[in-house]
Amino acid sequence: MATDAGNAILTQVVGGTLDAIAQEMSAVVTRTSRSPLFNEAHDFTTGIFDLPGSKSRLVAQAPGCTLHLYAVVSAVDRLIEAFRYDLHPGDVLLVNDPYHGGSHSLDWTIVMPVFHNRKPMLLPAVRSHMGDNGGPVAGGYNPRSRDIWQDGLRIPPIKLYERGEKRRDVFEMILGNNRLAHWLEGDLSAMIGACQLAAQRIEELLRTYGAEAVASAIEQRIQYTERRVRAEIREWPDGVYTAETYADHDFQGNRDIKVKATVTVRGDELNIDFTGSSPQAAGFVNSPLSNTASFAFVAISTCCDEDIPINEGFMNPVTITAPPGTVVNPLPPAPCGHATACVGAEIAEAVLLALSQCAPKRTGVNAHKLPLAYTHGKYADGRPWVNLNFFGYTGGAGAAYGTDGWGLYPPVMTGVILPSIEMTELQYPCRVLKHEYRPDYTGAGRWRGAPGLEVQIQHLDESSTSVMMAGVRNTIRGFCGAKDGPANRVIVDFGSERAMEVPETAFDVRMPPGGIIHFDRSGGGGWGDPLDRPVEEVLEDVRNEYVTVQGAFADYGVVIVADEESGVVRYRVDEAATERERSLRRNAAAKRK
C-alpha cells in the first residue's frame, strides 16, 4: 500500500516535472523568438516524448496550439527512423515535410534526443508555425498549389546540429530558402534553445530519481490517462455513429470536399474510420495522416475531463482508419499547404458530430474554418514582411454543453494568443481600424457560439494580399439542434472602387497604400435548441450587444421590448409574447418531425 502510494506520488511528481519542463520550453520560445507568430501569437507547441521501443510516445505537453499536438508524434517517429543508425547526444533534428510525418510544410518540428545509457530515452520537441517557407507565395499559403513543391520548401529529416556542433552550411541553406531569414534564424535558435534547456532539466530529473523510476512513472502516467479515457468511452453507448461535413472547395474549382467519419464505440475502445471521404484533392487541402490523427486527437481530448494529463494514453484506446489516396491520407505529391485549417477543421468537426450522437453532452463545436488573408510587402529598408492578419480570422469559438463559446479561437487553436494590436502596428505597417463583436453573427443555440467579429485592417504601404476562404457555404456546424455559424466574408480594398468580395480565393491582390481588408468573421456554432436558451440569457446578450432585438426574436423566439426614458434605453422581455412565440415554433417543429 505504502509502495503504491509512493509510486503514485512519484508518478505525479515526475509527470508534473515533465509538464513543467514543457512549459518552461514554451516560455523560452516565447521570450527568445523573433517572429510575432511565436512571441505574440504563440502558434507553437512544446512537448516531451519517450522512446520505449521504436515508436515514440507523447509524454508531456505544454498548452500551445492544440492542432499541432498529436501531429508531432509522427514527426518524431520519422526523425528517429531516419537517423536510427546515426543518432548521438547533442544532435538536433528538424523536419517539416508532410510526407515525413509533418502536417503542412509551414509547421516545423525540432527534436533533441536526451540519452541515457547510450540510448535516446526522452525527446523534447518544439513544433512551430513559421512565418514563411520559401516557395511561390510569401507566408507559405499558395492557393494555386497543385503539388507539394508548390506548397514550399520540403525539409525531410535533417540534422541542424551533430554531436553538439552546429552544421553551419545546413543551417544557412535552410535560411537561404526563407523570405524571413532575419526572423527564422532567431526562431530556430529559440526552438533549439528550448530543447537544450529541456535536455538539462531532463538530465537533472534522471539524476534525481534514476532512469528506471522515471520510465516507470511515465508508464504509470500514460496508463492513468488511458484508464481515464477508457472510462470516458465506456460511458458512451456502444454503436456506430456516422457524420459527414464539407470543406467549401479545394481552391482548384472542386467544391464540397467531403470528410466522413464513422465512429465505432465498442466497450472502452474507439475506431474512427474516414472511409467515404473524398479522394485526395487537386488543391492544397489534403491532410496527411499525421494531421488527420492530430485533429481526431483534438476532437477526442475535448470530450474528456480537462484534468486528464495530455499524453499518449489519450490515443491508446483509439484506432484510425484513413484510406490512402483520400483527402485525409493523401499520396505524394498531393499538396497539403492548407491542411491545418482546411480540411483539418472538417476532420475535427466530423468526428465530433459523430460523437455528439452518442455523447452529446461531452461534445462541443470545435472547427475553425478560417478566412485567411495574408498580406506581404517590404519595409523601407527592403526587407520583406508578411502579415498573417490574425485579427481577421480570430473567432469561431463555438458552444459546448453547458457553456457559450468564449474567447476567440475554438479548442483546435487553444493556446494561440491574439497578438496585441499595439505590437502588431509596430511590427507591420498597418493599423487595425476595427476589431469588434458583430451582433447576430454567431450560431444560436441553447448555448450560443462566441459572437462573430467585424474587423478592418489597413496597410499603410503598398501591399499584396492573397485570400483563402473557408466557412462560406459550409459554415461551422451547430450541434444537437443548434444553428450553424454564419458565413465568413472578406472584402479586399474595402471602401474603394476596386473593392472586391472574395467568395473562394484571390491571389496576390495589390492594394495601394492605405488599402483596407474587411472581415466579417463568423462566430462558432451553437449547442442545443435556441428555443431552450433561458430568456434572461438572451436578454443579457441583447444588453451586451451580442444579439439584437430582432435577432433575439428571429433566432431565439424571445420578444424584447425597448423602453426609452430620458435618453436611456432599457430592455425587458415580454414574457407572454415570448412564451407564445416559442410554443408556436416548438409545435411547428414537432409537426415537421
Binding site: 531516419a82 516557395g135 511561390p136 513543391w149 535533417i158 544557412e172 541553406m173 523570405r179 505529391p333
Partner: protein
C-alpha cells in the same frame, strides 16, 4: 640567354604545354563522361555543363563549357562556396551550390566542387557545373515567367557539403532529392557528377605524380599569363582607340528593360561599363553579375575564343562596371531564371554594337546573340510524375550563316527520333527556308501537357488549337498555370535567319 638556358626554357615551355594539354584533356574527358553517365537529357543531350580545374586560390586553370553562361559563373560559384567554408575544408569533402547570388546565374544550375589535397595541402582541384532538370519551385523546370523572387523559381542551394571527409551526408542528399520533381534523375546526376569529379581527381593525382604539383601549378600560371596577353593583344588590335557605345532592349514580351554599355580602355584593359542600364525588374530577367560578365566577355572575345582556352587569363582580359541593383547586376532576391534566354542576348547585342562602334569589324566581333522561341512542356502539375521537357527544336541562324548563335550553346539539337520514341511528340517539320529561317512543327502525339511558351527572339511561336485552327496570334510568354495541349496540338516555331547584324543588334533579338 646561353644555349643551355635557351634549351631549358624551351623545354619548360614544351612541358608547360604538355601539362596544360593534359588539363584540357581531363576536362574534356569529364565533359564527355558526364554526358554519357547523366540521366537528365539537359546534360546528356543538351550538354548544359562545364568542367574545370582551379587553383587553390580559386583561379581558373582551364575550363571546357558547352554554354557561354559558365564562363565566369563556375569560378565565381566556386569562390563563393570556398569563401563560405573558409577554414573548414578537408580531404573527402564535396561541396555543392546552386545559388544565383553566390556567383551563379540561375537557380537550377548546380556546381559540384571536389577539393583535392596532396600531402595535406590543397592542390589544383576539379569542379563541374550542370543544369538540373527540376529543383522544385512553382513551375516544373524552374522557368517561371511570372516570378519576381528567387523562391518562386526553384529551391535555393547555398553552399553545402554533400560529402564530409568522404562520407555522404544522407540527410542533405535526402533534402536535395525531396525538393526535385525528378528525384530519380537528380540522384543519378549527382552520382554522375561525383564519379566524374573523382575521376578528374584521379587523373590530376596521376599528373602530380608524374610532374609534381609545382610543375603543374607553373604550367597553369604560364598558360594563364599567355592567354591573358593574347586576349588583350586581340582586343588592342581590334579596337585600338576604343570608345564605343551600344544599347539594346529586352524583348517586348519580357517587359521593358534597356541595356547600355560603353567600351573604353583603362590603362591596358578594356572596360565594359554598363552604367545607364535600367534598374532590375520585377520579372525573371535579371542577369546576375556572373552571367553578365560571361556573356559580355564572350561577345567581346568571340573573334579569338576558338584559339584561346577559357581560363583566368581570359577572364582577366576585361574589366566590368556593373551598377548594383541594375538589370545586369541585380540584388537578392530578384528572379533570374529566364535571363539566359532573353537578357543575355540583349547584353551580347549591346556589347557587340559598342565594340563595332569603337572600330571593330564584324569579323572580329561576330554576333553571338540571336535567340529563338522555345516551349517547356510537362505533365499537369500534381500528376504522379512530372518531368519537365524543354523543347527548343530549332535555332536562329547567325547572319554569317554557319549555324546558331554562340549563346545557343553547343548542345545537340533535339533528335526527331528520340522525341517520337517514348516521349509522345513528333517533329513533323524542321526545314530551312529560302530566306534562311527555320520552320519547325512539333506535334503532340499523346497525353495532356501543360506548357510555358517563350516566344523570344526574332521568330514566332504559334499553337494550333483544335478549337481555333485559324488562330494566328503569337503565343505570349507569361501564360501561367494550367494552359494545356493534348494529342493533335501542334507547336509551330519559326526561327529567324540571315538578318543583318545591325538589325539584330538594335532589337537585341
Amino acid at each position: 640567354m646561353s644555349g643551355h638556358k635557351a634549351i631549358a626554357a624551351a623545354s619548360e615551355r614544351i612541358r608547360d604545354q604538355i601539362i596544360y594539354g593534359k588539363f584540357a584533356a581531363i576536362n574534356l574527358h569529364a565533359g564527355e563522361r558526364m554526358q554519357r553517365t547523366a540521366r537528365s537529357p539537359l546534360i546528356a543531350l543538351s550538354r548544359r555543363l562545364a568542367a574545370a580545374i582551379l587553383t587553390p586560390d580559386v583561379r581558373l586553370v582551364h575550363q571546357i563549357q558547352y554554354e557561354v553562361e559558365h564562363m565566369y559563373a563556375l569560378r565565381d560559384s566556386v569562390r563563393s562556396a570556398l569563401e563560405f567554408f573558409a577554414y573548414d575544408i578537408a580531404e573527402g569533402d564535396v561541396i555543392i551550390t546552386a545559388d544565383s547570388y553566390g556567383g551563379g546565374t540561375r537557380g537550377q544550375v548546380l556546381t559540384m566542387i571536389m577539393p583535392l589535397f596532396v600531402e595535406g595541402e590543397l592542390a589544383l582541384f576539379p569542379a563541374l557545373r550542370v543544369q538540373i532538370s527540376d529543383l522544385g519551385g512553382e513551375i516544373p523546370g524552374g522557368f517561371n515567367p511570372l516570378a519576381y523572387e528567387q523562391w518562386q523559381e526553384s529551391m535555393r542551394l547555398t553552399p553545402v557539403k554533400l560529402y564530409v571527409g568522404g562520407k555522404l551526408q544522407r540527410d542533405v542528399h535526402r533534402f536535395l532529392l525531396s525538393n526535385s520533381r525528378t528525384a530519380e534523375w537528380f540522384g543519378a546526376d549527382l552520382r554522375a557528377l561525383y564519379a566524374c569529379c573523382q575521376d578528374m581527381q584521379r587523373m590530376l593525382t596521376e599528373l602530380f605524380d608524374q610532374y609534381g604539383t609545382a610543375a603543374a601549378a607553373k604550367a597553369a600560371d604560364a598558360m594563364i599569363a599567355h592567354t591573358e596577353a593574347e586576349a588583350r593583344r586581340f582586343l588592342r588590335q581590334a579596337v585600338p582607340a576604343a570608345r564605343g557605345s551600344g544599347s539594346s532592349a529586352l524583348p517586348d514580351s519580357c517587359g521593358s528593360g534597356k541595356i547600355k554599355v560603353e567600351a573604353s580602355w583603362s590603362e591596358d584593359r578594356l572596360v565594359l561599363d554598363f552604367t545607364g542600364t535600367d534598374e532590375q525588374i520585377n520579372g525573371p530577367y535579371n542577369s546576375t553579375a556572373a552571367l553578365t560578365k560571361s556573356v559580355a566577355a564572350a561577345a567581346a572575345l568571340a573573334g579569338c575564343l576558338d584559339e584561346l582556352p577559357v581560363n583566368e587569363g581570359l577572364l582577366s582580359a576585361l574589366a566590368f562596371k556593373l551598377p548594383e541593383g541594375s538589370l545586369v547586376s541585380p540584388q537578392f532576391p530578384s528572379a533570374t531564371a529566364l535571363s539566359g534566354h532573353a537578357t543575355a542576348h540583349a547584353i551580347a547585342a549591346a556589347v557587340t554594337e559598342a565594340l563595332r562602334a569603337a572600330g571593330g569589324t564584324a569579323e572580329q566581333f561576330p554576333a553571338i546573340h540571336g535567340g529563338g522561341p522555345w516551349v517547356m512542356l510537362y505533365e499537369p502539375v500534381g500528376s504522379p510524375q512530372v518531368i519537365p521537357q524543354p523543347m527548343e527544336p530549332g535555332y536562329a541562324e547567325v547572319p554569317e550563316g554557319w549555324g546558331p548563335a554562340a549563346l545557343f550553346g553547343s548542345g545537340r539539337l533535339l533528335s526527331a527520333e528520340e522525341l517520337e520514341t517514348g516521349r509522345g511528340f513528333r517533329l513533323e517539320k524542321r526545314e530551312r527556308q529560302p530566306d534562311g529561317s527555320m520552320e519547325v512543327e512539333l506535334k503532340i502525339l499523346s497525353g495532356t501537357w501543360e506548357y510555358q511558351a517563350f516566344p523570344y527572339g526574332s521568330g514566332s511561336l504559334r499553337i494550333e488549337r483544335k478549337d481555333a485552327p485559324s488562330n494566328t496570334e503569337n503565343e505570349r510568354a507569361g501564360s501561367f498555370g494550367g494552359a494545356t495541349v493534348s494529342a493533335g496540338h501542334v507547336f509551330r516555331l519559326k526561327y529567324a535567319g540571315g538578318l543583318a547584324a545591325k538589325e539584330v543588334s538594335s532589337r537585341g533579338d
